[in-house]
Amino acid sequence: MPMPTKLSLDVLPAWEELERVRQRTKSFLEECALGSDVVDAVSMVACELLENAIKYGAFSAAAPAIKVDVTVSPTMVMVEIQNPVGPDSATLHRLDEAIQWIRGYQDPFEAYLKRLKEVSGQRLDSTESGLGLVRIAYEGQSVLDFFVNEHDVLAVSAVHRVAPARRLEGRSA
């Protein structure tokens, strides 16, 4: 039987969905014979992007769900999360700023360290994090991008490059 190359999930904007998506993503990537390091990294990426979609999506009866796609090719794994966005452009502006800021660093590790320093100086009870996207770039070793279509649906993608030799890394025979 050929290996699957794409996982698609329709997800309700509920926090409880995160664990289901994490488990489904892990299982799918393992079926694709990817190593445990890649499985852990990409499933984290899917969860972080899904958290953002749940937090900032503009859901309605007409647009009640989030779409999660995980696509595997011989050289990369792409996670794409789609959710409706409202007329308020502040969320998109913040997303654009965050991605541009990360791209301004040659090494996402440097961006991650800078953000860690900033967050560590905040009050103990602060609920601000802002670590999710930069963590995707550094720990998830993924390149972020996004677009908004004519139906006000935001699609955020994260591409994780996979060296062919690493596909079986971490898997027993």
């Binding site: 990294a41 937090k55 100086g121 103990l124 609920t127 963590r135």
Partner: protein, 123 residues
């Protein structure tokens, strides 16, 4: 004597253990809450208080943790920063053979002190 207290929030368990040498917070399961601070911070603050009162080092042991979201990292690094500015002895312990743990926790070297009072250690 060893004293152990368990704190459970969904799929995350924090085990606060005081033995003759250390005060240890063992992390088990997955930390995925939307706002994990209100659960995590009181336990970590209590660990630091216990360590200070008994003059024992505090260990944050993440080796049995399966997953954490970025919202969990924030309260942890705020506690590290607080400890760094104070006098507490604190060690973060993680697994180097798990790449996600190695990447996530090695970056916390930022909070290490030259005298080893705050240390980030892989095993």
């Amino acid at each position: 004597m060893t004293t152990t207290e368990m704190f459970v929030d969904g799929v995350l368990t924090l085990e606060l253990c005081e033995d003759p040498e250390n005060v240890t917070v063992k992390w088990r399961g997955r930390s995925m809450a939307r706002d994990p601070g209100p659960f995590i911070l009181p336990v970590l603050t209590r660990a630091l208080d216990l360590g200070q009162k008994a003059n024992k080092p505090v260990v944050l042991d993440f080796r049995d943790l399966e997953y954490l979201n970025s919202s969990t990292i924030s309260p942890v690094i705020r506690i590290l920063e607080q400890a760094k500015r104070g006098e507490a002895r604190l060690t973060v312990c993680y697994r180097n053979d798990l790449k996600w743990q190695a990447l996530s926790f090695s970056a916390l070297y930022l909070f290490q002190t030259a005298d080893g009072r705050i240390a980030i250690k892989s095993v």
